[in-house]
Amino acid sequence: MSAATATPLAIPGQPLGSTSKYQPGPGTHIHQSTLYSSLLGVVHIVQPAKAPGPVKRLNKIAPASAPAELPTISVSRSGVSEKREVLPEVGNTVLCRVVRITPRQAVVAILICGDTVLDAEWQGIIRVQDVRATEKDRVKIYESFRPGDIVRAEVISLGDQANYYLSTARNELGVIMATSEAGNTMFPVSWKEYQDPETGAVEPRKVAKPY
């Protein structure tokens, strides 16, 4: 059944090979030093990236990266269904909409995680100390975000029961889309200001650096 098709199919619990042959990727798990699939999906084997160019002379002590030589095996749902639920994880960059602001934090709804549009709605919090990296004590939430803004942020913690904790403390993180009080879409004019093209009014924001 699966052997005949061009793309090998895996079902949960199907053995994929020994841990001495492959590294575990997403959609797999290890049981008694054998890799098993944990999802229904298509098996992908990714060869490790070769070191570019001639190997440099060692100038620092690095741990021997023997396991990195193994190809990574993963099971992805791409061939089965496009409806793959993703959870925000620590370190992911997410896009979110500001729902409400308080002096201590901005409450946001996470819309996109990485490249995937989330099905379920997850709530996040940007605390006042996580808005920017410098002059943290001068940050005011209402000078950084307004309800309705679209913000690019990074997940720094799974947080408490309801909220993910997000941070915008990097140049490329912050507000990427904002509307003025008059209701027009604004454009960024500096690292901390957005301007309304029609009224000319300038509003303060934590502006994300354009790529």
Partner: protein
């Protein structure tokens, strides 16, 4: 049950239309007998992805051999999630399973109410235990998944009036079907599982035709046997060789100690046969 908001059917047993062929057989002392081998389960049909609005879904049908028009087992399972937990619940580093089994009002001979009754609660708990052993729960922190099974037909022979008192033997068949169909729906939803779990039932039966001797059959239909002494429902992971849930009911003669083990082993055999259907069904979903 004081449920005034809905139009309820009659509370007691209703008389379904009985066609002439069946009633003739009934009156002439016709009794369904098991024609399958003792170690074979009934044929079943399983399909995933039947409910588009759910994250994962599956439909299971088990035939009722012999009579035409008699009801077998029909289950529909939907999986919703992983989705965020309600605000009131505490932080959870792993996924929170909640499973609900609901009989349709017309699923069994005795009409079921809209409220959850103890049987449904019991089946839900068993199902949750069976699935918890198969799911890799810490892949999905802070999220919950709802598994909802509707029993459309409850595996009861409507033609026979006897065995009405101990219809609880059918619950074992329903549970084993629930486990299999939920496992397919979970795989369809893309929730990480250690293995495909499937359910199987084995029973110790006593038939008049065998001079009152007991024997073990798998996937029993209560109306085909004179008396069921004991039965067990097993949820089994085939590639791990592990049992995640075991439900044992009935009386075993105490002098035969090996019988208990034998019954569980036959339950595993039934589960393996169900798992073959499950694997084949999952294989068909791609491509």
């Amino acid at each position: 049950m004081a449920d005034r908001r809905r139009i309820n059917g009659p509370p007691g047993a209703t008389a379904p239309p009985i066609y002439e062929d069946d009633s003739n057989q009934e009156s002439s002392g016709f009794k369904a007998t098991r024609t399958r081998q003792p170690n074979t389960i009934r044929r079943m049909y399983l399909k995933t992805g039947v409910t588009p609005s759910a994250s994962g879904s599956a439909y299971l049908e088990v035939e009722m051999p012999g009579k035409s028009g008699a009801s077998g087992l029909k289950l529909s399972c939907t999986v919703h999630g992983p989705r965020s937990l309600p605000r009131s619940s505490p932080f959870s580093p792993h996924i929170i399973l909640s499973s609900h089994v609901k009989f349709a009002p017309f699923a069994t001979k005795q009409r079921r109410g809209y409220l959850r009754d103890p049987t449904e609660r019991d089946l839900g708990t068993h199902l949750e235990a069976a699935l918890r052993g198969a799911i890799i729960a810490d892949r999905w922190p802070k999220s919950g998944v709802d598994i909802i099974i509707s029993v459309i037909e409850g595996d009861q022979d409507r033609g026979t009036a006897k065995n009405q008192a101990d219809d609880s033997w059918e619950d074992m068949n329903v549970l084993s079907g629930c486990i299999t169909v939920a496992s397919a729906a979970l795989a369809d939803a893309g929730i990480d599982c250690v293995d495909t779990v499937a359910g199987g039932v084995a029973a110790l039966v006593r038939d008049g035709s065998d001079n009152g001797k007991t024997k073990i059959v798998i996937d029993p239909i209560p109306s085909e046997h004179d008396k069921i002494e004991a039965a067990c429902c097993v949820a089994y992971l085939p590639s791990r060789d592990e049992i995640t849930n075991l439900w044992f009911k009935g009386d075993l003669p105490s002098k035969e100690a090996g019988l208990y083990q034998e019954l569980v082993e036959q339950g595993i055999l039934a589960s393996k046969q169900a798992n073959r259907v499950l694997v084949e069904c999952l294989g068909e979903t791609v491509g």
